[in-house]
């Protein structure tokens, strides 16, 4: 396979193709008749997946950026179209290309009006998300980061639930506020680095090499990056946009929001905020703040999820909890914890994505998101019940499923630097079991006491097609994570080494990381 891909020059054009194809697809969707829209979108997203699948074989498990592309864009400001993939972004790219065809398939019957713009926006969104993960020029990164906001804003605002306008503008404003401050920070680094080195360039490598010159302002610059990413993650207390956006978005929108968009925040920390400003990130006060907020997020998200009467809202709050683990794992900065954090990012995309799909399927059947509206579904819809149970267990982190691998690695890796925080975070896993098991108990088991629920249809073939790949991933990562870890490891090691090299002050966490190695 690898030889064949090398023969067709795969590494040279793959990223270009991944970014351009959806845009062409979007134009095509708008030009063709309404009835063909979803079919076209499905073919384009499937094409994306097939193209991106080659990354799995051709990716070399080393720390260097691969599949790089550099093309001049605005030479006057040193802006170039620079792309590349490493172990941190590889799985996020694959997760995106895997989720998108499923999201299109999941929207098949749900979206009944204005299909053309809907699917066109989905495709534009694909480009935006992939662009964020592969951009190696901070200007390009920022452009993608913002552009992806527009399609999501419209998807929530036009095809969402009853409170969609409020949710859409809240989502937009929160992200916009954070990202604009990041924009000033990027600009400041660009000018300071440019002035010190004489070379004005937005290249990621250039920033990384010369980041030492911004030391006097590092705290504020880190703050601007961290705020943008913390809103996106979302970290407690910047999470309030999330329940609204997730609940009001149409099913596929929620899946994409939870599955991919939230990862941009943690990806941003891993790719930019932490490597650029390691000594700020591991300043004891910052460290304490981040770890505390991460743990609060884990516990708070779980507790709030427990009392939600609305199934979609429950899943939304569970995201706050899961992403807290990722933040803890990044800040623990041991090999296991960073690998675990990246695996959780992947897992959360799969499991929570699947949960949102299932919530959407329940909604399509009953037009209600209330947990109380269901009960005893296991008797009428056994297949749906089985899938929901498996997915819930994976989200809880049952051994043998993907959720276990990530959370275990994070907890093991974080114990040494932050024993107390890890102990408290572990209780979050218990809470997760509580809210999800309680929810599926009320939905699937108990008595079938509502008349409306008696005639519900079981999963259709299309729905099985949506959930099948996700189930496969749940077990693949859960039972045989080695190929994933192997591809992540060099990048994680490089990140840790990079941080250690710049953080001269050797804090406890950094020492912990070196012990772990």
């Amino acid at each position: 396979m690898a030889a064949f891909l090398a023969g067709i020059g795969y590494h040279r054009w793959v990223l270009d193709a991944l970014l351009v194809l959806p845009l062409l697809g979007a134009a095509l969707v708008m030009l063709r008749p309404e009835a063909e829209a979803k079919r076209l979108a499905l073919w384009v997203t499937l094409g994306e997946f097939v193209i991106s699948a080659g990354l799995w074989w051709t990716f070399e498990p080393t720390a260097v950026m691969q599949f790089t592309v550099v093309r001049a864009w605005i030479p006057a400001w040193g802006i170039a179209y620079r792309l590349g993939v490493d172990g941190i972004s590889l799985f996020l790219v694959l997760l995106t290309t895997l989720t998108m065809p499923l999201a299109v398939l999941g929207s098949w019957n749900y979206i009944t009006q204005r299909e053309r713009p809907y699917y066109a926006l989905m495709l534009v969104l694909t480009t935006g998300m992939l662009g964020v993960f592969v951009a190696l020029d901070l200007f390009v990164f920022y452009v993608f980061w913002e552009i992806m906001l527009v399609p999501m804003y419209f998807i929530i605002g036009v095809w969402g639930g009853p409170q969609r306008l409020y949710a859409a503008i809240k989502f937009f404003l929160y992200t916009f506020l954070g990202s604009l401050l990041m924009f000033v920070a990027i600009l400041a680094i660009y000018l300071l680095v440019g002035r010190a080195t004489g070379e004005y360039s937005f290249a990621y490598e250039h920033f990384l090499r010369n980041i030492a010159v911004v030391k006097p302002w590092a705290f504020w610059l880190f703050g601007a990056f961290a705020l943008a990413f913390a809103i996106k993650v979302p970290m407690f207390p910047f999470h309030t946009w999330l329940p609204d956006a997730h609940v009001e978005a149409p099913t596929a929108g929620s899946v994409i929001l939870a599955g991919i968009l939230l990862k941009m925040g943690t990806y941003g920390f891993l790719r930019f905020a932490v490597p650029f400003f390691p000594d700020v990130a591991w300043h004891p006060a910052v460290q304490a703040a981040v770890v505390t907020l991460a743990v609060i997020g884990i516990i708070y998200g779980a507790l709030v999820a427990m009392v939600q009467p609305d199934f979609k809202k429950l899943i939304a709050y569970s995201s706050v909890s899961h992403l807290g683990f990722v933040m803890l794992g990044i800040w623990a900065l041991t090999l296991q914890s960073v690998q675990g954090a990246i695996i959780i990012m992947l897992n959360h995309g799969i499991s929570t994505g699947a949960l949102f799909f299932l919530a959407g399927m329940l909604y399509e059947r009953r037009h209600s998101r209330d947990i109380a509206a269901f009960g005893g579904l296991a008797k009428v819809t056994p297949a749906l019940a089985a899938v929901l149970t498996v997915v819930s267990l994976s989200s809880i982190g049952l051994p043998g499923t993907n959720g276990f691998v990530g959370e275990f690695l994070v907890l093991v890796g974080s114990f040494q630097p932050y024993p107390w925080a890890t102990v408290i975070a572990t209780t979050g896993v218990i809470f997760a079991a509580a809210y999800l098991l309680w929810a599926i108990q009320r939905i699937l088991f108990q008595k079938l006491d509502k008349k409306e629920n008696e005639g519900l249809a079981d999963l259709s073939r299309r729905e099985l097609l949506v959930l099948g790949p996700m189930l496969a991933c749940i077990f693949w990562v859960g039972l045989y994570p080695a190929p994933f870890l192997r591809r992540i490891e060099p990048a994680a090691r490089a990140l840790i080494a990079q941080v250690q090299a710049s953080a001269g002050t050797g804090t406890a966490a950094v020492q912990g990381a070196s012990n772990a190695r």
Binding site: V150, V158, L165, F172, L181, V184, A188, L191
Partner: protein, 500 residues
């Protein structure tokens, strides 16, 4: 190409665009006197004026391409790329206005053939403002621009608000001119000259900063220009005037008139007072207050025209932020932003004009409800304009804002940069609701948007402006290079950093 301004030939050459436009004004005037009976004659006058605008662009471009540079004595007209690029921006703004007016005047039954002549005269004034290298020339340009615009604001004689707008604009504008003139007099008293280059040459020698006469003169100049560009706290006239004037003229005032005021301000501050850091702090405060107040006041507007009026105040704040940086990058950022701003403002008002058909009624944000399902292209165009005004990536507004920010950060103005982006976040609070209304709210009735048709010339304007904004958002290189060259044209600019 060297142009000796001490010879008659040199002066003629330097004034070529203005002379051509003046001659064309006479032609249009005669044409109107000859034929002014009906609608068709009025349209003919419009096309004739448009041709004049196009023809005037030729000597501008020719001067630019042949790299005309002044030699000999310090002249009253500048020969630099700043002048040429700003002149092209004014001409483009006027051309768009004429195109929008062609259908508008007939629809609103405004029969004033002189309308187009007044636009041409105003543009002539703008050319002098952007190119004047002498305070007196700039003042003459300002008056030549202002008087026709006073008339244009009230050109719809049946409209009470139009009359109110014209009167208000005239009274306050006259006041502002008084300030400006008095400021010029004081500066002349302090330096003995009105030539920008000569003032600049003496600025350090005369210890301008400690010379109270010069300081007061400079302050009065700032007040005068502040009125013209609608900077807070000199903005009081703006909403009422913008609201009352015919919509294409509102677009003209918000785009070209404002840009002309800024062009003159930038030139005066950088060329004459580049060596006098006293103004930096004043403009810094003006920029701060204008950005914050303009955006906050816009938040409260429900009427589209007033919303865009307040948003134009906010944009004046952004432009002032570019001026504050006080260097060539700031001037270049101003030029680029002026290009983008002209396109998005004219486009936005074109859509408002279309939505307000059948009598100039107030178009509320709610009146756009469901526009996207009935008129998808109009809604798409408006979305591009609003996102560009918001400074969203992928549009020219983003590149412009980026340029201003980078000029500000480069000059060490971190606080100003942060306030600018926070103000932009506030602006999302009023730029997004029209988009939400168009796309996310249902149409009130199937007939609601029957009348919202953009056809003919206005359609061309909207399509061109939207396409240009998107193209400049992704490939800004050519205009960026031109703006950089234009900024560098103000050679005598001195870089100052200011601790806020």
């Amino acid at each position: 190409m060297p142009v000796d301004l001490s010879t008659a030939a040199g002066v003629t050459l330097a004034l070529a665009p203005e002379l051509v436009l003046t001659a064309w004004c006479l032609v249009v005037m005669l044409a109107i006197a000859w034929r002014h009976q009906d609608e068709a004659d009025q349209r003919a006058a419009g096309w004739l004026s448009l041709a004049g605008i196009g023809i005037t662009a030729i000597p501008v471009i020719w001067l630019w391409v042949s790299e005309a540079r002044a030699v000999g004595i310090a002249g009253a007209m500048a020969l630099d790329s700043f002048r040429y690029l700003s002149a092209l921006v004014f001409l483009a703004g006027a051309a768009f206005t004429v195109l929008l007016s062609l259908g508008y005047l007939g629809r609103e039954r405004i029969r004033v053939p002189e309308y187009y002549l007044l636009i041409l005269l105003a543009v002539l004034g703008m050319l002098f403002m952007g190119g004047g290298a002498d305070l007196i020339v700039i003042f003459l340009g300002l008056e030549l621009m202002s008087v026709p615009v006073y008339v244009l604001a009230g050109v719809n004689r049946r409209s009470v608000v139009g009359a109110e707008a014209a009167l208000k604009y005239f009274l306050l504008g006259a006041f502002a001119s008084g300030f400006l003139l008095y400021g010029i007099a004081l500066v002349y008293g302090a330096t003995g000259t009105t030539n920008l280059a000569l003032i600049g040459a003496q600025a350090s020698g005369f210890a301008l900063d400690s010379n109270p006469m010069a300081l007061i003169g400079m302050a009065l100049l700032l007040v005068g220009f502040g009125f013209k560009v609608a900077a807070v706290p000199f903005h009081m006239w703006t909403p009422d005037v913008y609201d009352g004037a015919p919509t294409p003229i509102t677009g003209f005032m918000a785009a070209a008139v404002k840009a002309a005021g800024f062009a003159a301000l930038v030139r005066v501050l950088l060329q004459a007072f580049g060596g006098a850091p006293a103004w930096h702090e004043a403009v810094w405060w003006l920029a701060m207050v204008t950005m914050v107040a303009g955006n906050l006041m816009a938040l409260a507007q429900r009427q589209l025209k007033r919303l865009l009026a307040y948003s134009s105040i906010a944009h004046a704040g952004y432009l002032l932020a570019a001026v504050t940086s006080g260097n060539e990058a700031g001037a270049a950022a101003f030029l680029f932003y002026a290009v983008a701003y002209t396109l998005m403002t004219v486009g936005g008002f074109a859509v408002v004009a279309a939505a307000g058909r059948d009598g100039e009624r107030d178009v509320l944000v709610e009146d756009l409800n469901g526009l996207a399902s009935r008129r998808p292209w109009v809604a798409a165009g408006m979305t591009v304009f609003l996102l560009s005004l918001l400074g969203f990536p992928g549009t020219a507004g983003f590149i412009g804002k980026w340029y201003i920010l980078s000029a500000a950060v480069d000059a060490g103005q971190y606080l100003l940069a942060v306030v600018l982006v926070l103000a932009s976040v506030i602006s999302a609070g009023y730029y997004l609701p029209p988009i939400m209304a168009m796309y996310m709210r249902p149409e009130p009735s199937p007939e609601a948007h029957q009348g919202t048709v953009i056809s003919g010339a206005p359609r061309f304007v909207v399509a061109l402006a939207a396409a240009a904004l998107l193209v400049l958002g992704f490939w800004p290189n050519v205009v960026l290079e031109a703006a950089r060259e234009g900024g560098a044209g103000l050679r005598s600019a001195v870089t100052y950093t200011l601790a806020p």
